[in-house]
Amino acid sequence: MLPPLTLQRTIDRTVREEWGRILACLVRAVGDLQLAEDCLQDAVVSAMDHWQKTGLPKSPAAWLITAARRKAIDRLRRDRNFASRQDEISYLIEQDNQALDDGEAELIPDERLEMIFTCCHPALAEKTRIALTLRTLGGLTTEEIAHAFLDRPDAMAQRLVRAKKKISLAGIPYKIPDSTVLPERISSVLSVIYLIFNEGYSASSGDVLTRTDLIEEAIRLARIVNRLIPDDTEISGLLALMLLHDARRFARTGKLGELVPLETQNRRRWDRAKIAEGVRILETVLPRRRLGPYQLQAAISAVHAQSPSWQETDWPQIEALYNLLYASQPSPVVRMNQAVAVSYARSPEAALAMLDEAAAGGVLDAYQPYFAARADVLVRAGRTQDARKSFNTAIKLSDNSQEKAFLHDKIAHL
C-alpha cells in the first residue's frame, strides 16, 4: 500500500493527465458536459478511497472511465426524466459490458478534438472559451483557473456552469465542424490556446511576470491538437512559436524578477532543447508552403533563437518575414513590429515613418508596447526628448509593476 501522500500525488497526476481524454469519452456517452464532469468527479473521489485499500490499478485511466460510466448509469437512472434518458443508459451499459481490461486504456477512443471544438465555439464568449478549455481538456480545477485569471473562484465557477448550460441548451454541437467552417473553427481553437499561453507569458496584470502552469498547459494543448490534426501547418506553427518563446523563459526575467529584453538576455540561459524542437517543427512545415501568421511569427522567433548574439541578428531576414506577416495579417500591431525590424535592418528614421502610419488610425492609442517601441526607436534616432515623452506614456498605460520598473529604468539611462 502506498503512503497516502504519494497516492494522492499519483491520483492528482493521473487525473490531470487523463482528465481530458476520459471526460471527452464520457460526454459522447451521456451527451452532456456537466453530467459527464460530475460523474468523473465522483469517480475520482471513489478512486482515492478504493486505491487506498487495493493499491493502484494497472491502468488508472481505464479504472476511472469504468467507474465514471457506472456513476453515470446511476445518475441517469435517478433522473426524473428516466424514460427520455433510456438511450444513453443502454449505450453506457453496453460500453460497460465491454469494459476495458486493465492496461487497455489506450483503446479509449480519443474524442478530445470534438470537445475542444465545443469549448472553443464562437457562440461562447472568449474568456469562457479559455476557462472551459482549461477545465475540460486541461483538467485544471476551477480554483486554479480563477487564480490564473485573478478572478474570484465563485465567479469562475458561475461562468463555467453557465457555459455548460449554454452548450447543452443552445445546441452547440459535439463534433468536428463541417469542412466549410473547419478552417475558421481551427483558428478559433488556436487563438484560445495562444491566449492561454500569452496570459501565462505576459501576465497582463499583477506582479508575477510568468505563470508557468498556463504556458505549459497551452503547449500541452497544442501538442494534443497537433497530434489529432497533423495536416494543419498553422497548428504546428503555433506549437513551434510557443516553444521558441518559452525557450527564453529563464532569460527574460532577472534575479529580482525584473524584465530583461531580448537585446540584453543571457543567451546561454535559453532552453536549447525547446529551440531545437521548435526549429525542427518549422523545418517540417515551412516547405509545405502553406504559410500563416503562426508559422511566420515562429520563423521570426527562430531567427532570434538561432542568432549567437543580438549584434549578429539577421535583421534583413526578420524584416522579410515581417513583410510576409503584414501581407497576411495587415494590422497596426504587425505594422509596428515590422517597423521595429526596419529600424535595425535599415534606419530608425525609416521605422518612425512606419510607426506614425501604424498609429494613424488611433488603434494603438492605448497600446503600451507601441509607446515603448516608439521610444526605443526615438532613442536610436537621437531624439531623447521625444523618447522620454513616449516612455512616460508607456508607463501610464502599463499595469504590470515589473514592466513599469523596466520603463523607468530606460528613462533613467537616457
Binding site: S84, H121, A123, A170, G171, P173, K175, P177, T180, V181
Partner: protein
C-alpha cells in the same frame, strides 16, 4: 431541435420598396424559404407588419393596459422570423447567415424550449 431565427433590422435600412435592389432582396427571401423547405428544415416563417402597427398589452393588478407601439426604444426591430428544425447550432447559424436581412440587420438564433413531462 427547433431554432427560432429572429430577424432584426432598423426600419428604413436595407433595400427599400420601389428601389432596384428591393426586387433582388425579396427574391433572396423567396429563394431562402425554398431552400429551407427543400432541405426539410422549415417549420414556420413569417414577416411582420412595420413597428407602427404594434400594440403593447400588459396586465397589472388585473387591469389590462393597452398601449400604442412597443416599449423598447431600440432602433432595431423584430421584422420577421423563421422557425427551423436543425441538427445543431452550427446548422442553425449556417441558415441564419443565408437570410437576406443578415447583411444589414442581424439574426438572433434561439433554441426553442423543450418541456419535459
Amino acid at each position: 431541435m427547433q431554432f427560432m431565427l429572429l430577424i432584426y433590422s432598423a426600419e428604413g435600412t436595407g433595400p427599400q420598396p420601389g428601389s432596384d435592389e428591393f426586387g433582388a432582396f425579396m427574391k433572396g427571401y423567396v429563394d431562402f424559404t425554398e431552400t429551407v423547405k427543400k432541405d426539410g428544415k422549415m417549420v414556420a416563417g413569417d414577416a411582420l407588419q412595420p413597428i407602427a402597427t404594434a400594440t403593447t398589452v400588459s396586465v397589472r393588478g388585473g387591469k389590462s393596459e393597452i398601449m400604442d407601439g412597443p416599449f423598447a426604444e431600440t432602433k432595431e426591430q423584430l421584422g420577421g422570423y423563421y422557425l427551423l428544425d436543425c441538427e445543431d447550432l452550427d446548422e442553425a447559424v449556417k441558415y441564419a447567415a443565408m437570410i437576406p436581412s443578415a447583411e444589414h440587420g442581424r439574426i438572433e438564433v434561439r433554441p426553442v424550449m423543450v418541456w419535459d413531462n
